[in-house]
């Protein structure tokens, strides 16, 4: 349609001032939003109360529709299986996944044993489960990879806690409401997980790439220590994630770049477990003394 030939809304002073005030308000609003964004960048947990409340209010919608979608997905899967002559196939896949999990666990335990023999009684572990949850949603229209969990602060969930499924690591709690919380998935670009190669214990960092895969970075220079099909588990370094949770499998190697696929697919798993922070001190703020001494060192 044609735009009016002049931007003036007529001869009414009131309407003209109204239009002008509207623009002033809009520009001020943009500046205010940018300020809010800056606060969010400096202190990501800053608006936890507000965002948690929004999570709580919307939880009934997402968790209510979850069961419907799950059954629809199941129907879809079953039809697919039929066409691939696959009830048998599905059963075999299930067994394979099960045995692969056991194999990973066994390998990890073996390595753990070796390590523990070396440093006897130096670990401080709190492998307790905090809550059992369902993944009821995700940020599917944003470049971030966030998931929504159906449990919140009322079940003891706190920001920073690791989340895993039977298949492997899912991510870390980012924000909590009373009955729902948001998880930073390991495939998000802001997620860094210290991992270890199960085969020989090489340490690496698994960083998300935003498209459902992980990129592996080692400290070693020169030779790429990874091979296709290598399994990675958490190493426990950093004190946030407990060790020996399966993380991913290496799928692609391009020179120095190594790409892995997470073993736990957030869209396929039914239940996730929220864990305690492995070594609670790792996530605690520094004491005032060390804070001041650090500042002193910086000057």
């Amino acid at each position: 349609m044609a735009a009016p030939s002049t931007r003036r809304p007529g001869f009414s002073r009131r309407a003209q001032y109204g239009l002008f005030l509207g623009y002033v308000l809009a520009v001020a609003g943009v500046l205010f939003s940018v300020l809010l964004l800056l606060i969010a960048i400096v202190d990501p947990a800053g608006f936890n109360a507000l965002k948690g409340a929004a999570l709580d209010i919307t939880r009934p919608i997402s968790s209510g529709s979850r069961s419907v979608v799950t059954s629809i997905e199941n129907v879809g899967t079953s039809i697919g299986d039929y066409f691939r002559a696959g009830s048998q196939n599905a059963e075999l896949k299930r067994r394979l996944a099960e045995s692969r999990r056991r194999l990973i666990q066994a390998k990890a335990t073996e390595l753990e044993n070796k390590r523990l023999k070396a440093l006897l009684g130096l670990t401080q572990e709190t492998p307790d489960e905090v809550a059992l949850a369902q993944i009821v949603g995700s940020s599917f229209d944003s470049p971030r990879r966030l998931g929504t969990l159906s449990v919140g602060a009322s079940s003891g969930v706190r920001p920073g806690q690791p989340v895993r499924a039977a298949e492997g690591l899912i991510g870390r709690v980012l924000e909590t409401g009373r009955w729902a919380s948001r998880v930073l998935l390991i495939s998000d670009g802001a997620s860094n997980v210290p991992v270890r190669l199960v085969r020989d214990g090489t340490a690496a960092i698994a960083t998300g790439r935003g498209d459902g895969t992980l990129e592996l970075k080692t400290l070693e220079v020169g030779k790429n220590p990874f091979r296709r099909g290598d399994i990675l588990t958490t190493s426990g370094v950093g004190g946030i994630f407990p060790p020996n949770i399966p993380v991913g499998v290496v799928v692609k190697i391009e020179g120095d770049r190594t790409v892995a696929r997470p073993l736990a697919d957030p869209s396929a798993i039914d239940h996730a477990v929220v864990l305690n922070i492995y070594q609670p001190l790792a996530d605690a703020p520094l004491s005032p003394q060390s804070e001041t001494s650090l500042k002193g060192a910086g000057q």
Partner: protein, 171 residues
């Protein structure tokens, strides 16, 4: 209800419907984010933004630019974006479209689609850049499927909005 409003109550209801339908339909599109879809790619279009620009391009007169602030805040809270992201991007889009309207005399279907595509690109890049500032460094190509799908979804969303607009103004 008959075609002619019989009482002042009827007039009030019609007036409310006229004002509320655009706002409520944008809120409803924000609520799409609550569907339990879990995908590990950025591929699903941002429907709230599509509905918003469809209304803006179809009826430039119903909203002033600052109307995008409350709509954006609602979307940020529902979708879990950092607060201020949609508020800033949507309001800037409205301001830019106001400028465009003052320069371009006549918009037809293809022009609308072109401006909608540019707005979609702006929205995607803005979200990507804010994510980057927040520590999530991802390749820019990650956005391509979502932006392409959004551009092709726009005519469909615009159709829906035109239908709603007819109902909104009908008697």
């Amino acid at each position: 209800m008959s075609r002619i409003a019989g009482s002042s109550r009827d007039v009030a209801i019609l007036g409310m419907r006229r004002q509320a339908v655009p706002v409520l339909s944008t809120f409803a599109a924000s609520l799409v984010d609550l569907l339990p879809i879990v995908v590990s790619w950025t591929i699903v279009p941002d429907f709230a933004f599509l509905v918003l620009i469809a209304w803006r391009l179809l009826r430039p007169e119903i909203w002033q630019a600052h109307m995008a602030l409350p709509l954006g805040l609602f979307n940020d809270l529902i979708a879990g974006h950092p607060i201020g992201q949609s508020m800033a991007i949507w309001t800037m889009t409205f301001l830019i479209l106001d400028l465009v309207d003052s320069r371009v005399g006549w918009r037809d279907y293809w022009m609308d689609w072109l401006f909608a595509s540019l707005a979609i690109l702006f929205n995607g890049l803005g979200a990507w850049y804010i994510a980057r500032l927040m520590g999530s460094v991802t390749p820019l190509g990650l956005l391509a499927p979502q932006i392409a799908l959004s551009i092709f979804a726009y005519p469909i969303v615009a159709r829906l909005v035109i239908g709603l607009d007819r109902w909104r103004l009908s008697r």
